[in-house]
Symmetry: C2
Subunit: 343 residues, 2 copies
């Protein structure tokens, strides 16, 4: 099938120039005369040349490959993020190796190892819990730039910059909104206990409650739809006085929504719910789900830009500002009279 792929040398011969010139043309150097470049490009087309990055890397040691490790790629929030990062990197000529660690720390460490071998120039990691030490040590040892996003794991010295949304403010906005909607007894539902992501969101929730005379009611646990559905059943049965919930994320909130639907309770009037992340589904279900909007696509683009800056300049980036969040209020908290978005 293959009579040997043509190399830069074959192209050079066909174009009547040296291999170095071809190399310059390939990389779009401005120092080569346009006329020459044109000939070279013609020769490339004629010979059916394809650039061999492996060889280029070997010499130049920079692969144009970025590693993206995500703890749960099935969650639409992370999918959206991964997609956005991948597309932004792709636009800059970088390819993205994506891995789903599936919340398995050991798997994560293994994948990171494999990516290092492949010579990725940088990492973006939304880490799984467990095995953090090994994972991050490998990266640090190899001296590869790495951005930790969305989730932070406990580390003795924060080796790597961390970027995320302003989770505390999100919790605050959601809770204040429910208070404004006359909710008298607001629970916080879902999220893995004792994780920074959970406690931050809860901090905002507690802050909003302070001084209102309402007692906080936290029900941490998991982060899935199934958990949300279970909690809807549990709250109805055991805590009928609770009339609103700030959920850890949209998965939990959507789960609660269908849990209540199953019981015949109407969310938006009987019970008010606000989710977190504002994934696309929020606007597609009925009642539509209010949520703390995180512009994850923009966040992905920013992440990609910051990372490439680091890779290309070699400058460790400044600590990043928490990305802003906003409340998207919909029927699940407003009821069915009015519509719209509050600040």
């Amino acid at each position: 099938m293959s009579p040997r792929r043509p190399t830069i040398l074959d192209v050079a011969r066909a174009a009547g120039v040296s291999k170095s010139t071809v190399s310059l043309v390939v990389r779009g150097s401005p120092t080569v005369r346009e006329e020459t470049a044109k000939q070279v490009r013609a020769a490339m087309a004629e010979t059916g040349y394809v650039y061999n990055r492996a060889a280029a890397n070997l010499r130049a040691s920079s692969v144009g490959l970025i590693g993206l490790v995500i703890n749960d790629l099935r969650n639409p929030f992370f999918t959206e993020f991964a997609t956005s990062v991948q597309m932004a990197l792709s636009a800059q000529g970088y390819a993205t190796v994506i891995s789903n660690s599936d919340e398995d720390g050991a798997l994560q460490a293994q994948m990171v190892g494999s990516m290092i071998e492949h010579g990725v120039s940088a990492f973006v990691i939304s880490p799984a819990y467990g095995q953090e030490a090994e994972t991050f040590e490998q990266i640090a040892r190899a001296g590869i730039p790495c951005l930790q996003v969305l989730r932070q794991v406990d580390m003795r010295g924060d080796l790597f910059p961390f970027a995320a949304f302003d989770y505390a403010r999100g919790g605050l906005l959601a809770t204040q909104h429910l208070i404004a909607q006359q909710a008298r007894n607001i629970a916080f539902v879902g999220g893995l206990p004792d994780r920074a992501v959970t406690t931050e969101r809860m901090t905002g929730y507690l802050e909003a409650l302070r001084g209102t005379g309402m007692a906080p009611r936290s029900f941490p646990g998991r982060t899935s739809r199934a958990f949300g559905a279970e909690m809807a059943a549990l709250l109805s049965r055991r805590h009928p006085e609770i009339d609103a919930a700030v959920c850890f994320n949209d998965q939990v909130a959507l789960g609660m929504l269908s849990g209540f639907a199953r019981q015949g309770r109407t969310v938006g009037t009987d019970f008010r719910i606000v989710g977190f992340d504002d994934i696309e589904d929020c606007g597609q279900v009925w009642p539509r789900l209010s949520s703390v909007a995180c512009d994850i696509a923009q966040f992905g683009r920013d992440t990609a830009a910051a990372l490439l800056d680091w890779v290309e300049t070699g400058q460790h980036p400044p600590p990043m500002r928490r990305a802003p969040v906003a409340l998207a209020a919909r029927e699940s908290s407003l009821g069915f009279g009015s519509e719209g978005k509050s600040p």
Copy 2:
């Protein structure tokens, strides 16, 4: 930061053997004596050696990198597939470069080009429509194995093997089930018109209808939730006689579900719906959505296995059998009296 990464040569020196021996150890060759291997491994640990795949590739020309190009990575069905393939490949020591073409043929061609440069050993593509010619020609020209999955684009000679589920049978099962549930007027809703994926599903629908005296009613269009919601409104308003729908996919079906919920109509009694793909959400909404179950995780693993077989043996694989589908009947078609799965 980097006082030069240690190479195979440094390891060889530290272990007191030749570089060739180290190379053999790295690749786990059985021809090297265990005692020697042990020394070499110790030396590797001591020097902090990391394998440089770029160099290995250059010489051996095989990168251990598989390209996965998906038309819509935000759709959970495809996410699940991508995840499954990636994890299966990862278990075999291959890394996966994932790209989302976002239904953009030009983007797809560009991404495929970039992956070829990166030296991927094979492709798995669920193609976007448009630019097929360029995309597949590039791959054919480079002589890279490629599996086309889930969707097929029109090609003069089917250059690449195609694997998918038995869509026609899925359409048949769904429609027969609705007939058994006493539906009298069944529509087929969603799917891009004139695409093989759509027409196959519709073929099964038409076949089930044949001889029942029911007239087929097709409403192709798009594949999104938003489209499903629109259609729920449209059907209620303009075609009140229709009392059931086979949907192109679960996205459309879930959209219809919330569209009807918004109108206050009860799906499962007033109107019966069956989706297609059986994504996780089907069991998480209320009423739970009946769907044609495609074991996408298994399909992903099979795809990975077939592809690796092709890559490693060099044997063009036999044409693949359509993967089986089954009906998962839930409240959206059964109503609320009974529960369970029919064959």
